[in-house]
């Protein structure tokens, strides 16, 4: 049972444009969401997070939007830069209980010059 889904395995965006990465989840009890960026041969790097009580969080070029009614979150990167090319994972967590991160399958973002 895949509780967190990233339905797009890959995304290609032109440099300078907006990159939008999407994530859907099935468990309405998740109360915290995180985005990670991963380069090959490195560990995931934390990017940005959002609590379930908010609908938007912004940090520089990165903005995460949460739509609880749709059980959907998205990561916007603007403007996209070549260094943003990586695999992006969304993750969700239940802060009560076991507090285990549940990851999506990842989306490979390629920024084209």
């Amino acid at each position: 049972d895949q509780q967190v889904k990233q339905n797009s395995p890959s995304l290609s965006v032109q440099e300078g444009r907006i990159s939008i990465l999407n994530c859907d989840y099935t468990n309405s009890m998740f109360d915290y969401f995180l985005w990670y960026k991963k380069y090959p041969a490195e560990g995931p790097t934390f990017l940005i997070s959002i609590s379930s009580i908010k609908d938007k969080n912004e940090d520089g070029r990165f903005t995460v939007f949460l739509n609880k009614s749709a059980k959907h979150l998205s990561l916007h990167i603007v403007p996209s830069q070549p260094g943003d090319s990586a695999v992006y994972f969304c993750a969700a967590i239940l802060l009560q209980g076991a507090q285990k991160l549940v990851f999506g399958q990842g989306t490979r973002l390629t920024i084209n010059p």
Partner: protein
């Protein structure tokens, strides 16, 4: 944020042998975790490393195969025992401190021949 280091960064091992991976966090953390990322896959939680007690394993992972130690609040080890080629993977240490953000180490790339 927590800075996490892992040793070794990579290793090539023979079938039937065991490898112990070390994880060091630069600050005391409440929770430590071990993940595995197989080629082309998402991150899979192996276990939660509990300080002073036995680790909590996820379904499909057992202590005999993946013994874990956590002697204090900043250090943990994961042993991959009696290795087979199917154990070839990236093993990642992760930690969460006082906040809700979870950080990852750089990973250990294991190849079993």
């Amino acid at each position: 944020s927590a800075v996490i280091s892992q040793k070794p960064s990579r290793d090539i091992c023979q079938r039937g042998t065991s490898l112990t991976i070390q994880c060091q966090v630069d600050s005391q953390v409440t929770m430590m975790f071990w993940y595995r990322q197989q080629p082309g896959q998402s991150l899979t939680l192996i276990a939660t490393a509990n300080q002073g007690s036995e680790a909590t394993y996820e379904s499909g992972f057992v202590i005999d195969k993946f013994p874990i130690s956590r002697p204090n609040l900043t250090f943990s080890t994961l042993t991959v025992s009696n290795m087979s080629p199917e154990d070839s993977s990236i093993y990642l240490c992760s930690a969460r401190g006082a906040g809700d953000t979870q950080y990852f180490g750089p990973g250990t790339r294991l190849t079993v021949l």
